[in-house]
Symmetry: C2
Subunit: 111 residues, 2 copies
Amino acid sequence: MKLVYKIWVEGKTKAFGEGPYKLLRKVEQLGSLNKAAQDMNMSYSKAWSIIKRAEKELGFKLVESNTGGVGGGGSRLTSQAKTLLTQYDEFYREAGEILTKLYNKYFGELL
Amino acid sequence: MKLVYKIWVEGKTKAFGEGPYKLLRKVEQLGSLNKAAQDMNMSYSKAWSIIKRAEKELGFKLVESNTGGVGGGGSRLTSQAKTLLTQYDEFYREAGEILTKLYNKYFGELL
């Protein structure tokens, strides 16, 4: 037996959770929302709508476009998005530790 | 913004979480798996399969049949099911408190 959990943040609708998190990490890694969407077997329009919905709910930009320069184009995370991902990592890590302890406390002998 | 979370226990498949919890509470309240299913707008076979799957994963019985007596028939929770529900309540309450604190710690200024 193991504990499984999903945690997300809601405003009027789902604002931020595992889906946007993974997508933003891919954008960070690949430097492009289009490549991130492809890598996750998702249409560009789907990826775009995930970002836009999260931005609307959160009230700040998550992704901005690179223009010009060598290679040109592409997308990168805003500094607020980077902060959000870092905080989310820390939050999830600490939540995981605590939930595991609670699971053992309440279900350790039962399950 | 608010934090939303779902937590469940898995063995080979999903073993116990919000769905079986609510169904078992209804069985306890109404004294009948059939009535509980109706109350939750669920077919009897669906309710039955939820209970059976959870029992199989958990390795103990959750519901037993009343036979005979005044009123006859009906279903009631096993003592292990009652213990499970109590522990689940406590687990969820404490998890909720801690997750709210963590949310404020990591996202309080950001969101």
